[in-house]
């Protein structure tokens, strides 16, 4: 006691906002290992997102529709521009491309079962098509990626649509990645790679570069498949106005626009957090590009990146998208981040809600793994049921909002149904700030 009298008072320990605890741990990790951090999932920073928009609902000037009684349709047709056999989805939410390799065969099967049960599509990924996923997906989109792992014309003809992947929101400009732990004998065989290597896929297509080549490539794919199948072009959100314009010019039937919140199986942390645009900031200019070309609703737009609920879906549609796609949310619906796994997550140095070492292949939920024991924990039938439940809830939520706005189809939602909560959202979407009729730049800056 007497000592303290002589010691000058100390301030409490204070953490730096710049060198926060995560940043410090990352510097320590980098110094110890000499290699950048690779992880799964999407960006974790707070970004302008659909939460920054609200619906206005009906009022005296606009009447609502009766919930449950008056129809609010949800169907969407994709690929009406050139394809002889467009795709019909009962609900405008599809399961995004995630490879067998990144995901277990059980997870792929569950996604197929769930999507099929509600009348929507699933998508292959950077690793080819498995017979199981073809068998369990009534509508299957086949990705055509730079790596062309497992690409073959028989599967191309078996697919219901073809998605030319130019980029992905988590890493626009980056190629796929699958670390050695997940290159099991079956995955290695499908990809024609040695087992156990750290696979780094190409980031550019091997036989075309630029929009003029893309046009020729799309025509080749149509020639190979008799002009039957819709051809999608998937881009990460970076220059959406130009990318959408160029994809339309190249002959795409459908454009998939994936924002930076979009999940990934394995990517450098620095890439996930620092490259690309939040999806909220990309939709308006993508839609603008379609409108300027007279192609809105003729070339369909699918958006993804952090879609979690029927509200997110309804907002994306109101901004002008034709459908949305989900990746991360589907994995959570399957059981990823489950509190029941807390003990096992603890052994991996993490907690439910923060698990992102999907690249390691040790997923206790059996989803992002190729370990037979772990994968067998996932029951594809039960998993399919959970996916179907979740997709149904998303659809019903979007319908509830649409009816409240007086819309008899989800596609009748429009920008005028929305307000922005923040200046950022208003500037990015040109949706007026709540309580005003103004967005930044409206009357010139």
């Amino acid at each position: 006691m007497s000592q303290s009298k002589n010691t000058p008072p100390r301030t409490t320990p204070r953490f730096s906002a710049t060198f926060d605890q995560f940043t410090i741990s990352e510097i320590q990790r980098a110094a110890a290992t000499g290699i950048y951090d690779i992880r799964g999932a999407g960006t974790k920073r707070k970004l302008p997102h659909f939460d920054d928009l609200l619906f206005l609902g009906a009022s005296i000037s606009r009447y609502p529709l009766e919930g449950y009684r008056e129809r609010c349709d949800t169907d969407v047709v994709l690929g009406t521009r050139f394809a002889k056999k467009p795709i019909r989805l009962k609900t405008p939410v599809t399961v995004a491309g995630m490879s067998f390799g990144a995901l277990s065969a059980q997870a792929k099967e569950a996604l197929g079962r769930g999507a099929s049960a509600v009348g929507t599509s699933t998508t292959t990924g950077d690793g080819g098509m498995t017979p199981e996923e073809r068998g369990h997906s009534s509508i299957l989109v086949y990705q055509y990626l730079p790596s062309r792992y497992g690409m073959n014309p028989d599967d191309l003809r078996r697919a219901d649509a073809i998605e030319v992947v130019v980029g992905q929101g988590a890493k626009p400009g980056g190629g796929g990645m699958l670390l050695g732990q997940k290159i099991s004998p079956r995955v290695a065989k499908m990809r024609n790679l040695p087992e156990g290597i750290d696979q780094r896929s190409a980031c550019r297509h091997p036989d075309w570069t630029g929009p003029d080549d893309l046009e020729i490539k799309i025509e080749e794919l149509r020639e190979i498949t008799g002009w039957e199948k819709p051809i999608y072009v998937k881009v990460g959100a970076s220059r959406p106005y130009y990318d959408v314009s160029l994809a339309v010019k190249a002959g795409a039937d459908v454009i998939v626009l994936d924002g930076m919140q979009g999940g990934t199986a394995a990517t450098q942390e620095v890439f996930i957090e620092h490259v690309g645009l939040p999806i909220l900031s990309a939709i308006r200019s993508a839609v603008q590009a379609l409108q300027d070309l007279g192609m809105h609703r003729k070339v369909q737009l699918i958006v993804s990146g952090g879609i979690r609920s029927g509200a997110d879906m309804a907002k994306a549609l109101a901004l002008g998208a034709d459908a949305v796609a989900i990746g991360t949310a589907a994995l959570i619906a399957l059981g990823d981040q489950s509190p029941d796994l807390a003990e096992e997550y603890a052994k991996l140095g993490t907690v439910p809600g923060a698990y992102d070492d999907w690249q390691e292949g040790r997923d206790p939920a059996g989803i992002t793994t190729q370990d037979p024991e772990l994968a067998s924990r996932l029951d594809p039938i039960l998993g399919g049921r959970r996916i179907a439940n979740y997709l149904s809830v998303m659809t019903m939520e979007a319908q509830a909002i649409a009816r409240a706005c007086g819309k008899s189809h989800l596609h009748n939602l429009e920008p005028e149904d929305l307000v922005s909560l923040t200046m950022e959202a208003a500037a990015m979407t040109k949706i007026p700030l709540a309580g005003t009729d103004w967005y930044p730049g409206k009357n010139g800056f």
């Binding site: 000499g34 290699i35 062309r148 014309p153 780094r200 036989d207 020639e223």
Partner: protein, 232 residues
């Protein structure tokens, strides 16, 4: 049309569209030999074929001639544009002239023979195909090549076999430079036998297998390691 080609079924691309051509060649009951005249650099000639038919393309082909071929045997009498025989699964494509970039890209099987030279990225990402080039190949050939064999009777450009996996490369002439993780290997008896077989299959008799060198992956980049950081 030359007399030797007279018993072919003929399609003239001045009269038929590419769609009509491919629809005929892809049809389930297609058989025999076909002559495609006046190709005039059109793209996607004879793509997605599945039947063991013989096709002569009497002139220059544009992009992706013979793309994703299965079982068919194509001869291109002139030059071929980018991505000739891309993702071929089986059958053969022979180019009597030169081939542009990315010849045989990602192809899984079959035989691609280029009588002239090939441009950049010949055999890029190849996944099992055999490619024999009588002339030289451009830079970045066999980039990320996964499996199969690339035989170059002339010279190879810069960065040959960059980030190579398990494909083999044989070069008779000079190699301007090797790409990351590609190294010269001792030619084994098995390599020699494969090379002899490929030269013979390609109809190349003037060069002997003994005069080629063999290149493959040093396998140093197969797993991430701090000491290889400069190569990532």
């Amino acid at each position: 049309m030359s007399a030797t080609l007279s018993n072919h079924q003929a399609i003239d691309l001045r009269e038929s569209t590419i769609r009509e051509l491919n629809a005929v060649l892809q049809s389930e009951d297609v058989t025999g030999s076909w002559l495609v005249s006046h190709p005039e650099g059109r793209h996607s000639i004879a793509v997605g074929l599945t039947a063991p038919i013989d096709i002569i393309i009497d002139g220059q082909a544009g992009y992706y001639a013979g793309g994703m071929n299965q079982h068919a045997n194509l001869v291109i009498k002139g030059n071929a544009g980018p991505g000739v025989a891309e993702n071929m699964m089986s059958g053969s494509v022979r180019i009597e002239g030169n081939a542009s970039m990315a010849a045989g890209a990602t192809a899984h099987g079959g035989l691609l023979v280029i009588e002239g030279d090939a441009g950049a990225r010949c055999g890029i990402s190849m996944k099992g195909v055999n490619i024999v080039v009588r002339g030289s190949v451009g830079h970045m050939s066999a980039f990320m090549a996964q499996s199969g064999n690339l035989v170059v009777c002339g010279d190879a450009g810069d960065a040959l076999g960059d980030s190579l996996y398990e494909a083999r490369i044989f070069v008779r002439g000079t190699v301007k430079s090797l790409g990351a993780d590609c190294e010269e290997k001792d030619m084994s008896a098995e390599d020699l036998q494969i090379l002899r077989g490929l030269l013979e299959e390609a109809g190349i008799t003037e060069y002997s297998a003994e005069h080629f060198r063999c290149y493959g992956s040093a396998r140093r980049l197969y797993n991430f390691h701090v000491d290889n950081a400069a190569a990532y």
